[in-house]
């Protein structure tokens, strides 16, 4: 592994708190958090973080794709067989399977 790749793999992505004054990120997010998988087509949300079960490498990739804490996401459509779904994020469109989307926690308000 190259030194740069090693450094990049040390990145830790902290949650995005929608409320100022919320405690730092190492606390687990409150249960019942909604995920991208709950988003129906034409709904928008803001990414707040990732679920604890998501492997760190997957989280970093989602971050690099634009599904970063604080980013606005718009659900464009679902495939005819209901999976995967296309999301608009960071001026682009990305298709994600439900199995990955359910780890991206969002705030729907």
């Amino acid at each position: 592994m190259t030194p740069l790749a090693a450094r990049l793999q040390e990145r830790r992505i902290h949650a995005f708190s929608v409320r100022v004054g919320h405690a730092p990120s190492d606390e687990p997010l409150p249960g019942g958090q909604r995920s991208l998988a709950h988003l129906r087509p034409h709904e928008s949300a803001r990414v707040v973080g990732y679920s604890p079960e998501l492997p760190a490498s997957h989280a970093r990739r989602l971050f690099d794709l634009g599904f970063a804490p604080g980013a606005d996401v718009y659900a464009v459509r679902r495939a005819p067989l209901l999976d995967p779904s296309i999301y608009r994020v960071a001026d682009g469109q990305v298709a994600l399977r439900r199995s990955l989307a359910r780890h991206v926690l969002v705030d729907l308000s």
Partner: protein
């Protein structure tokens, strides 16, 4: 100081500067690479992996420089073999024993319509501390979508040179060439951008503000088209119509072209036979050499057409939509949507299908799809199926409202597809969940008009690769087969001694084949195929078809014509077993024909496929695995089929 090393191609002087193109997939890298290097790209693999390498040369400031088109990546935090290559190539401190030479400068492509995301990759690249220059692409698309960016402001904010490039505009590419010549003067930022996720967003926002970036509106054109093409009902209908049109085009357009090629080589062969004095040399040249080359080139129209279609669909952006629609189905076999495109291409020919697996980021998926591709019913199986089905089912038999022959043919296609999915599932399972399994995601790029030059370059590369590497294998096998079928040479004395009249051409050729080394081999391996009901003549046919499936028809035709030159078809139908327990019985009974059909459905009888598997995986392990497992499965399935058929009929 860069050291040119490559697999073949022109030697380049030591000290030639080398630049690498870095960018996300769909950022216009290939178009820029083609614009810079023309069609002089040399391809191969990166040593040790299944990743294709594109390298070419261009001039900058009067000197030749090398341009390398690195695989598209979103991040230098790699999760797929492609991305590992990119991260190793830009590692300035290591060259991995010279297998990953570090470039002298990096050209980073930023898609102006997706600047926010593209800047993330740029921050990673800047941390390599290699000289870097930014190329801004799709500025025209940005403007079309009511966005804008100030390249000078972006340059000031980044501390890097920024060259806006408009695809197809030679002046902007010239500007880039001039910039490449001045690599020593490229500015670098005094402070590297933050890698820390919590600081990166702020940096990006600040840079975009300084660049007066107005993000593009949603691409209305793409949205309108997707509303149809990805609509649950309309989209699926269009999809199947496109796939149907795909095949129709291949078969109807390619067929006449193939006929021309065959005619051409037939004529050439004839000329060689007449002109060359020594008979066996004439035979060798006309049958083995010209026949061998012709055997390869006859595929070329089909492959070229296939590649044109695939390149157009990909350039437009439709392939990712097709993969999106098929992902769930492919997922049930442990694969993903992009595998569908490979398997689909394999219906015409497995060679482009296997090459299309390059688009799969996961090595496990790539291998599994490559192992499954040969099972799709390819065009080469058709002549064999036509012959065998005609022996099995009379032309006027009906299956409900459909013709029975057509129904059986459809059944063979279905068998191929189901087997392919099963094989893919098995190999995906065997590939296991390696550490760092790749999450599935797929970008849906805007629909764009593909540039004819890009299509041409893609098709050219594919065809040249096919002819060169694969042609060698076919040539060698054809020569070998020809030798085996025609040796040992029978002199007139030998013929007379065996009771054959040297003037009777039919008897001579029949005798030669019977006494040939190939026949010896055919008889020697009869224990293997006897349970399937094959005799030494079918064995020769099967052996010869190992080079290419259609050869079976020709070989069997040769054998049949030797017995009955006027009506080989009838000769085949009436052929009787000459030795062993079934002596005197008809050779091509229904169980035998069915066993043959099933055998051909499964066995890997195509040196072209072996060749391309070798080329794409960089090792002999996978082609041999494919050959081995498919042979075993073919034998077992043929055996079962013949037993079932024997019980039923």
């Amino acid at each position: 100081m860069s050291h040119h090393h490559g697999q073949s191609g022109a030697r380049v002087a030591e000290g030639t500067r080398r630049f690498a193109l870095v960018g996300s997939p769909n950022s216009g890298k290939t178009t820029l690479f083609n614009a810079l290097t023309g069609l002089r790209a040399k391809t191969g693999n990166y040593p040790g992996v299944t990743v294709a390498r594109y390298e070419g040369a261009t001039t900058a400031g009067g000197d030749t420089v090398l341009i390398e088109d690195l695989p598209g990546t979103y991040s230098l935090d790699p999760i797929s073999p492609d991305e590992v290559i990119v991260s190793e190539m830009v590692d300035a401190h290591e060259s991995y024993d010279g297998r990953r030479p570090t470039p002298d400068g990096l050209v980073v492509l930023l898609d102006a319509t997706a600047l926010q995301r593209s800047l993330t990759l740029l921050t990673h690249v800047l941390h390599t501390e290699l000289p870097t220059i930014v190329v801004l692409t799709f500025g025209d698309d940005l403007a079309r979508r009511a966005g804008s960016v100030d390249a000078a402001g972006l340059s000031a904010a980044l501390g890097l040179r920024v060259v806006p490039i408009v695809a197809g505009q030679r002046s902007s590419v010239t500007l880039l060439r001039e910039a490449l010549a001045e690599v020593e003067e490229w500015p670098a930022p005094a402070v590297l951008p933050p890698l820390e996720p919590s600081e990166l967003g702020g940096w990006i926002r600040s840079v975009l503000t300084r660049a007066s970036y107005r993000p593009p509106d949603v691409d209305a054109r793409t949205q309108r088209i997707d509303a149809v093409l990805l609509h649950p009902v309309a989209g699926t209908a269009v999809f199947f119509a496109t796939m149907f049109g795909f095949f129709q085009t291949i078969f109807t357009l390619a067929a006449p072209l193939q006929a021309y090629v065959e005619q051409l080589f037939g004529w050439l062969g004839g000329v060689a036979s007449e002109r060359i004095a020594v008979p066996w040399v004439a035979d060798f040249v006309s049958e083995a050499l010209i026949g061998g080359v012709g055997g390869v080139l006859v595929f070329l129209p089909q492959i070229a057409l296939l590649f044109v279609l695939i390149a157009v669909l990909e350039g437009v952006g439709y392939l990712s939509r097709a993969a999106f629609l098929m992902d769930r189905v492919m997922g049930s076999a442990g694969l993903e949507g992009r595998s569908f495109v490979s398997l689909l291409s394999s219906v015409a020919c497995a060679v482009p299908g296997i090459m299309a697996t390059r688009s799969l980021p996961s090595e496990r998926d790539r291998i599994a799809t490559m192992m499954a591709a040969p099972l799709m019913t390819c065009a080469a199986r058709l002549p064999v199926y036509v012959l065998l089905i005609s022996m099995l089912v009379p032309a006027d038999a009906r299956f409900g409202p459909f013709g029975a022959q057509g129904a059986v043919m459809f059944g063979m296609y279905l068998l191929g597809a189901v087997s392919a999915m099963t094989a893919g599932w098995v190999f995906a399972k065997l590939g296991g969940r390696k550490q760092g399994a790749i999450p599935f995601y797929m970008e849906m790029p805007s629909y764009r008009f593909p540039r004819p030059a890009t299509i041409a370059a893609a098709v050219w590369e594919a065809c040249v690769a096919f002819v060169k590497k694969v042609g060698t294998i076919i040539m060698v096998t054809t020569v070998l087969l020809w030798a085996l079928l025609n040796l040992p040479l029978q002199s007139d004395a030998d013929l007379v001694a065996a009771g054959i009249d040297p003037a009777d051409e039919v008897a001579v050729s029949s005798h030669v084949i019977e006494q040939s080394y190939a026949a010896d081999v055919g008889r020697a391996i009869s224990p293997v195929f006897e349970p399937l009901g094959f005799d030494w003549r079918i064995n020769i046919g099967v052996l010869s078809s190992l080079a290419a499936r259609e050869v079976f028809v020709a070989t069997l035709g040769q054998v049949a014509a030797a017995e009955n030159p006027d009506d080989p078809q009838a000769a085949l139908a009436e052929m009787t077993v000459t030795s062993g327990p079934r002596t005197g019985e008809k050779l091509f009974t229904p169980p035998v024909v069915i066993a043959l059909l099933v055998f051909f459905a499964y066995a890997l009888q195509c040196m072209s496929t072996v060749g391309v598997l070798r080329r794409e995986t960089g090792t002999w392990r996978w082609p041999l695995t494919a050959f081995g497992y498919l042979f075993v499965v073919a034998w077992v399935m043929a055996f079962l089929a013949s037993r079932v058929a024997g019980a039923v009929t």
